[in-house]
């Protein structure tokens, strides 16, 4: 089995599963309970928060555990919008944000917020000048993703952060779900106010994630109820999930230190191999993209057919993001980058992990070449 759909979800690391298992058995009580058993669970929760903060180089009080990336993005966007709506009702995002940012903002439009959707260039990148030019007196939030989930394009977060810093009335949110552990990001130094991370994209478990919220920022809660997570996120803490998330974060950070070059080399090998196939057009830019994602189109071929043909050989890739895979039309992301409908409708995505090997990449390249050759007569 060759699994090349790591942007959809990753296989939990055995150590992560072990953490989950151990905490489930050993620390079941509710951290909010005041008895000693609850106290032990609470101590563990605090320690986990401290470790997560250390890995992100932020303060412990700035970490909010969530049920995943979608909740994190919604909490950040709706939380800021509803809390600070007296200040202004203008929000800036890009055309290529994940649906959990894009549609959260669309829902705010119904509440009278105005959203600026920044265009991207052919590499899928927003322009810093556009960001600056669209800031208004009533802008309260800029939300730009770190690494695009379909193309791997890296956005100029550091530069946007330094612009955002000059406007003290607005907040800067970064959806770092696809980039964490693969592409460097400095929350503190780059002026990021809120940052979303999801566990299952980094070999953690589904249903885990965190939102970084800079100290002093208030968030209107998505869920009302108990006072958990500094009053920012009600509900009994999923302690086994939380501990397993922190474990996954630590492990991927270690891989980032040790295996970045390897992943980079795999990305290059993949690009070279795809480049040689004349029917293939690569959509992920050569420069300024994450090493693990490669988006390409095979014009004239239905992507589902290629996916199926590869699946027969136990190789798993995807079309676009899993969250929008039910949409039969083209990719919003690729269309925003100016791709024709033909290219956008025939796009495929390979997404690797640190465990991907060069043999797997080569096997994939052979398989897709064969598939294209064999399907050619059927499809055309």
């Amino acid at each position: 089995m060759i699994y090349l759909d790591n942007s959809a979800t990753t296989k939990p690391h055995p150590e992560v599963v072990k953490s989950f298992h151990h905490v489930s058995e050993r620390f079941f009580p509710n951290p909010s309970s005041i008895h000693q058993l609850g106290g032990e669970a609470e101590q563990l929760l605090i320690a986990a928060k401290g470790q997560a903060a250390e890995l992100l180089d932020v303060q412990q009080s700035e970490v909010i555990f969530t049920s995943g990336g979608t909740e994190g993005n919604n909490l950040a966007i709706k939380g800021i919008a509803l809390q600070y709506r007296q200040r202004g009702k203008h929000i800036i995002i890009s055309e290529v944000e994940h649906p959990s940012v894009y549609e959260a903002c669309q829902s705010l439009e119904e509440l009278g917020f105005e959203i600026t959707y920044l265009p991207v260039n052919q590499d899928g990148k927003v322009s810093i000048n556009d960001v600056e030019a669209s800031i208004r007196e009533d802008t309260i939030l800029i939300s730009i993703m770190h690494v695009n989930n379909e193309t791997g394009t890296i956005q100029p977060i550091e530069a946007i952060g330094s612009i955002a810093r000059r406007y003290p009335k607005l907040f800067f949110h970064v959806d770092a779900v696809q980039g964490f552990g693969k592409v460097p990001l400095q929350i503190q130094n780059w002026g990021i106010d809120l940052c979303t991370i999801s566990g299952h994209k980094l070999h953690g478990m589904k249903g885990t994630g965190l939102l970084y919220v800079r100290d002093g920022i208030k968030l209107f809660p998505l869920f009302h109820g108990g006072q958990q997570e500094n009053g920012k996120r009600a509900g009994t803490e999923n302690l086994p999930g939380i501990i397993s998330l922190v474990k996954a974060m630590r492990l991927i950070k270690e891989r980032e230190m040790s295996d970045s070059d390897k992943l980079q080399a795999l990305g290059q090998a993949l690009r070279c191999g795809l480049d040689k196939l004349h029917t293939v057009r690569i959509n992920t830019p050569q420069n300024g993209a994450a090493p693990h994602i490669m988006n390409f189109s095979v014009p004239g071929f239905k992507p589902e057919v290629i996916i199926h043909a590869l699946g027969e050989k136990d190789i798993f890739i995807s079309t676009k993001s899993a969250c929008s895979s039910k949409r039969m039309n083209g990719s919003r992301i690729l269309e925003a980058a100016g791709l024709s409908e033909v290219l956008s409708r025939s796009a495929l995505r390979v997404s690797m992990s640190y465990d991907t090997t060069i043999d797997e990449v080569n096997a994939f390249l052979r398989a897709i070449e064969t598939a294209i050759y064999q399907l050619k007569d059927v499809m055309r």
Binding site: Y3, D5, A8, T9, K11, P12, P14, V16, V17, H21, S24, F28, P29, N30, S32, S33, I34, H35, Q36, L37, G38, S67, G68, G69, T70, N73, N74, K78, P99, S100, E103, A104, S198, H200, M205, K206, G207, L222, F223, H224, G225, G226, Q227, Q228, A234, G235, T236, E237, N238, L239, P240, E304, I307, G311, F316, S318, A322, C323, S325, K326
Partner: protein, 382 residues
């Protein structure tokens, strides 16, 4: 000294069989259910099967079950989701003064958003009157939210009767069944329930997973936006392992509700009997016959809840003052205040003991003996 856990209403130990059921979803079947390849499809199958199994337990259709991150999220989705989606039909909501904070604080938020909320009182037994619901209903009422079993006193509310009453009214009927699910039989169709909240970690399942049942006819606006998961009612990659763990926890209790009730009832009676034999003064809050077997709320006259809990804890009895979600600060319980009034001594000397899988007859008796011993000592030192 071994600590005896009497706080199952706060959370329960996860059953080893539940963990076992979850592990394959973290190794072999780890795919994203939305992925079109076979890894995704296998995960989707697990998800669908779990949804069917759990839906059957409450006599719902599988399409009517939305998985959430837990009870709090489900309560929020039920209230905010129906209020915002149905405000063209009216802006009046009825709930009770003794709901869980996930419901109460959400209702308060909706008040700030321009909805009108009626908070029904409870009698001294902690039960709401169906008659009060009838009187509070107006042509503008769009939602009635009444918890099935109160989490502090264990009092069972007249859900069937409210459901019957509302069959003739436009208002949806939501019940927070977090403490009832898995112990009391629930038939949403027969009981006229339109929305129902349940959570896995109260029935020996994993934390971080719950559900909202919402009948096909219910108009619901999501809390969060993004992917198309859960029929767009709850976007985000489905937590398949937790859902399967939830399924296992439900299966372990399937057709065993009566068995569990009898067992926990025996624990409860043994606990009371032991306290009586020890000759200490205590009063049961709520009408014993009308409480769920797993929960008992007891006041100890002349005592103070904080020192009681501290001493119980030091002597290896883990109990609580009320809901864990509010336990951080021991304010007088809003539930007991609703029953007895703010100045009643019972609101300041009540402890909740809740029974479950960590108990045996022996440790329940032992816990009661420890409790009695502590109370006697504290009485003497008063």
């Amino acid at each position: 000294m071994e600590t005896i856990y009497l706080d199952h209403a706060a959370t329960t130990p996860i059953d080893p069989a539940v963990i076992e059921a979850m592990l394959p979803l973290m190794s072999d079947v780890f795919g994203n259910p939305s992925s079109v390849h076979s890894y995704g499809r296998k995960a989707r199958q697990s998800l669908d099967e779990a949804r069917r199994t759990i839906a059957q337990r409450i006599h719902a259709h599988e399409k009517e079950v939305t998985f959430t991150s837990g009870g709090t999220e489900a309560d929020n989705l039920a209230l905010i989701g129906t209020a915002l989606a149905n405000k063209d039909r009216g802006k009046h909501i009825i709930t009770t003064v003794q709901e869980h904070h996930a419901t109460l604080h959400t209702a308060e938020y909706l008040e700030r958003e321009g909805f009108e909320v009626t908070y029904l009182p409870v009698d001294e037994n902690g039960v709401i009157k169906v008659e009060d619901v009838r009187e509070a209903l107006t042509a503008e009422t769009i939602l009635v939210s009444v918890m099935y079993v109160n989490n502090e006193t264990g009092t069972i509310q007249p859900i069937q009767e409210i459901g019957d009453l509302l069959k003739e009214h436009q208002a949806y009927f939501h019940t927070d069944a977090v403490q009832a699910f898995g112990l009391l039989e629930i038939d949403v169709k027969k009981m006229g329930i339109d929305l129902l909240t349940a959570t896995a970690h109260k029935i020996n399942g994993p934390k971080g997973i719950g559900l909202l049942y919402a009948g096909k006819h219910v108009k619901l606006q999501p809390l969060a936006y993004g992917g198309e998961q859960e029929r767009k009612r709850r976007p985000g990659t489905e937590n398949v392992a937790n859902v399967v763990g939830f399924q296992k926890a439900v299966e372990l209790r399937t057709n065993k509700e009566a068995e569990y009730r009898n067992l926990y009832q025996a624990y409860k009676e043994l606990f009371i009997q032991t306290l009586q034999e020890e000759g200490i003064a205590f009063e049961v809050n709520g009408k014993l016959e009308n409480t769920i077997p797993s929960i008992i709320n007891i006041s100890f006259p002349h005592m103070n809840v904080e020192s009681l809990l501290v001493n119980f804890d030091l002597n290896g009895v883990a109990a609580s003052s009320g809901s864990a979600c509010t336990a951080g600060s021991i304010e007088p319980s809003h539930v007991l205040v609703a029953m007895y009034g703010a100045n009643n001594e019972r609101t300041k000397n009540a402890v909740r003991f809740s029974f479950g899988s960590a108990n045996t007859k022996e440790n329940v008796k032992e816990a009661a003996e420890r409790v009695a011993g502590i109370v006697k000592r504290m009485m003497k030192n008063r």
